[in-house]
Amino acid sequence: MRYLPLTDVDRGDMLARVGASNIGELFVDVPEIARLDGPIHDLPMHASEMAVERHMGALARKNVAAGDAPFFLGAGAYRHHVPASVDTVISRGEFLTAYTPYQPEIAQGTLQMLFEFQTQVARLYGCAVANASLYDGSTACWEAVAMATRVTKRKRAVLSGALHPHYAEVVKTMAKFTGDEIADSAPAIQAEPDQSGLIARIDEDTACVVVQYPDILGRIGNLQEVADAAHAKGALLIAVNTEPVALGAIKSPGELGADIVVGEGQALGVGLQFGGPYLGLFAVRNPKHVRQMPGRLCGETVDAGGKRGFVLTLSTREQHIRREKATSNICTNSGLCALAFTAHMTLLGEKGLRQLAAENHRIACATADRLAQVPGVSLLNTAFFNEFTVMLEGRNANDVVNILAERGVMGGVALGRLYGGAKALENALLVTATELTTPEDIETLAGELEAVLAKETAQ
């Protein structure tokens, strides 16, 4: 086996040193009934790189890669161009094959990177402090709700109807067990988010209000309004962002009064990867909330020689110290994805991020205008960043998406799929455009959509 350095001679010598006559003797503690005589059945034997490559390559070719078709999907996962040097950075063995930096003297690379990452995220979100990452946006969203209940000592969380339904499901699932109470509603299909409806649901028992920004329909609501209302009732505002690039164009949730800002960082550096691994971002506006935060935190200090250095800090919040009293059970997080994110963000810089955001918005506007010209298609949003909702008159958007796929176009995400076929949303199609979307892509989508909508039969 190409991955196993011990030779049979080594094994013999080592067994002698440990005083065993065969390897079986080292497994004496395994009860008879559980000992296997030979290799497990129904599984293949070892294979060469060549053979494995053929097998995996064949599986990969069974998928349609986003790059192989005009592509307009978003809804929580965004396709952006990642500079080639990002992969160079995350492929450095010293980053790739390191563990969580428990020995800071020989982990300054990871630690300084995390300190820079935390700073970038905090500034992007308009917050004071960000952590070193969580699993993904949806688990970060739940962790925020859990933290809010700790901070406010209240158990009720109010979810905006326009929060990504998968995020809402995660929150509701967890709440089932923690006993927290979740109030949520279906999203109203209208040009702008139902702010007043949401605000009306906030009361004195409310620990937090959870609002997505921009929301699942691509709309951009007035966070400030919600923040004020929440604060008036002593509740926290949790803002959820699934597209960090948007914050290169629109105000940060922190600026608008959000107390906890969480989100998905996948859009920068990480890629689509069929949904994972992704990158959970978590930040708080008020430094005094730091000790209630989940996850790892990297902090600055000095070494015995007086040199600046970095360490993991405030670990008394964490499971390995605090055990059942920890703020979260998370251990392994998304370290390498954080590196990809920070490397991409560093290459962009403030200038590049703003340019990237402007480019996304420009192309999304062009896409929206073009699609609006297609008979049977109407644009829902008044405001959006790089993602918007169109209504397909009298047609099930999910069917349309599937037919478009057969015709070689990845047309978008049918809201009906996300909401489990809720009638009200059946005709809604969420369309996303990024810097990777070409004018030809837009024309192809418009043309194919027109053709498909024309086909009554397909109904």
């Binding site: 086996m1 350095p5 011990l6 080592m14 040193r17 440990v18 390897i23 080292l26 004496v28 395994v30 559980a34 290799p39 497990i40 070892h46 494995v52 995996m56 064949a58 599986l59 990969a60 069974k62 998928n63 996962a77 500079p83 160079t88 010293e94 790739l96 094959t97 563990y99 020995q103 690379g109 990871t110 700073t119 990452s133 993904d136 688990t139 995660v170 699932t173 923690t178 914050l247 164009a249 940060s252 990867q273 994972g276 730091v290 902090g299 600055e300 070494d303 015995a304 020689g305 800090t313 008394t316 964490e318 390995h320 920890a326 059970n329 954080a338 590196l339 962009l348 403030e350 489990g420």
Partner: protein
């Protein structure tokens, strides 16, 4: 940025001179020491108007549809051109230790070699550039990867089913415990207690508490195992589950595992097994044969997906028949036509109607799945069996090569599994496990896990894994013995180790007392 060195430290003199401890404190004006290079913070070298991408200039008068929420003020980010960025991260990387550099025997973390074929496969556009919400007809290959990997995990563990979406071990523990809670509630039998041995990893109690259970300890025997009789005595109608790590965190197999499971089941409770140490028995023992109800598998340990300096991981959970119905959504199901379907909503699925819900936005760690499956296919059933055997042999080799000079609390309990556990007895001059670990750093090794498990004083948990050669183990043993001898002799110089690392010991107390968690411009 004219200052030669932003590391906060300034050279004493440009000529050779030495520091109190007898080492040379770098005599250079830059703070560099040849190939050991200092690197300023990004924010000290970057500029707001510098970028490493070439995008069109922003057209200030372009009409926008942002609802009047344009971000007008500065964001506070800085950029680097590509040459600066590549150098920044390369220099940082060189201040890190990784498996690629040398022996990394971090106990309980299974720091085995990360095959590069796995990295190559995970980067195939057919895997890396696929959206989680594409029509299922366009992602059949991705769903097949999930299915094939599930098949391997079920076969290797002898369990009934597997939940693939958990994002790491702790997330998997939560998945398992929630399945147990759901199963109990489904039979209207709410229980309040989860039993967790003191030697357990911190995520165990944290997880149980998170699921609203009261955590109680399980007594263990002097031999470092679960005390079966004491456990039986404690079991009762209030106990929902017992969380056991097997092989346990002392590196020992629980010989009574089957009896434990029977007792737990008798009491109407479930057995959760922490599978972080599965590497010791993969291909040799199937937890299903030991009565386990739920066990997470850290793909980033046993199946070698890279740790990446803290993640990402992946923690699929294998389940017994009794728990399978409660597994979280989404999951993949093969239709009669061989088409793979992605089940995202309970309503759609009668048989699995009892799913406790959803743990994450999408379908789990696809990027880790492709790597783990590549790893499994490469090793095969025979290779995986060899993995366990070599991992256990390497650990026993280390145990028996050091037990004469280091306190090995369970050396008499028989062979260890994949890790060797030592304690800090008899060190002189107030030296501690920490000093020994730092001494190993100078020797060019990453230290073992220290002060875990909590049941052994000054614990040192050494997990070599199977991907280390005998030559490496021998060199490690030689170095470990020499550092241990220094510790036993009370060699004060160890107190200040490491001497040669990019940094000397760091002041963690200061870091926690006045936390500085983000960079701020000193000029501001």
């Amino acid at each position: 940025m004219n200052a030669p060195n932003k590391s906060g430290w300034k050279p004493t003199s440009p000529v050779l001179g030495e520091a109190a401890d007898g080492t040379i404190d770098s005599p250079t004006t830059t703070g560099n020491r040849a190939l050991m290079l200092e690197e300023p913070l990004l924010f000290e070298i970057g500029h707001a108007d510098t970028t490493g991408v070439d995008l069109p200039e922003v057209d200030a008068n372009a009409a926008t549809r942002l609802g009047g929420f344009e971000r007008t003020g500065p964001i506070g980010l800085v950029g680097l051109t590509e040459p600066e960025a590549v150098r920044h991260y390369t220099r940082l990387s060189r201040q890190n230790y990784g498996i690629d550099l040398g022996f990394f025997p971090l106990g309980s973390c299974t720091m085995k070699h990360n095959p590069r074929l796995n990295e190559k496969m995970a980067r195939l556009p057919g895997f890396a550039d696929v959206h989680p919400l594409q029509p299922v007809a366009t992602v059949q290959g991705a769903l097949e990867v999930v299915n094939e990997l599930a098949h391997w995990l079920i076969k290797l563990t002898g369990m009934h089913s597997v939940a693939m979406s958990p994002k790491a071990g702790a997330h998997g523990e939560l998945c398992g415990i929630l399945c147990i809670r759901a199963a109990l509630e489904a039979r209207g039998d709410a229980r309040e207690v989860v039993l967790v041995p003191e030697s357990a990893h911190g995520t165990n109690p944290a997880t149980a508490a998170f699921a609203n259970y009261r955590v109680e300890g399980i007594p263990s025997t002097p031999e470092g195992r679960v005390d079966l009789e004491a456990l039986k005595a404690r079991l009762g109608p209030d106990v929902a589950a017992v969380m056991i790590t097997n092989p346990n965190t002392c590196g020992l197999f629980e010989p009574d595992m089957r009896a434990i499971s029977d007792a737990v089941h008798e009491a109407g409770a479930f057995v959760y097994c922490d599978g972080a140490n599965f590497n010791a028995i993969v291909g040799k023992v199937r937890p299903g044969d030991l009565g386990v109800d739920a066990m997470h598998i850290n793909l980033h340990k046993t199946f070698s997906t890279p740790h990446g300096g803290g993640g990402p991981g992946s923690g699929p959970v294998v389940l017994s028949e009794a728990l399978s119905a409660f597994a979280p959504l989404p999951f993949v199901r093969k239709g009669v036509d061989g088409e793979l379907a992605l089940i995202e909503k309970e309503e759609r699925e009668s048989s699995r109607g009892q799913s406790f819900g959803r743990m994450t936005a999408f379908h789990g760690q696809m990027g880790m799945f492709t790597r783990a499956l590549t790893y499994m296919l490469s090793h095969g059933a025979d290779g995986l069996k060899q993995v366990a055997e070599d991992a256990v042999l390497n650990a026993n080799y280390i145990l028996r090569s050091l037990e004469d000079i280091l306190h090995a609390p369970f050396a008499d309990s028989g062979p260890c599994m994949h890790e060797a556990l030592f304690g800090d007895k008899d060190f002189g001059g107030g030296l501690s496990t920490l000093d020994l670990a730092k001494g190993l750093i100078d020797e060019g090794f990453h230290p073992m896990t220290v002060y875990f498990p909590l049941v052994v004083h000054g614990a040192m948990l050494v997990e070599p894994t199977e991907t280390e050669s005998k030559a490496t183990l021998d060199q490690f043993i030689t170095a470990f013995r020499s550092v241990t001898e220094r510790a036993l002799a009370g060699d004060e110089s160890l107190k200040q180790a490491p001497y040669f690392a990019p940094r000397r010991r760091l002041d963690e107390t200061a870091a926690a007392r006045k936390p500085k968690l983000a960079w701020s411009d000193p000029e501001e």
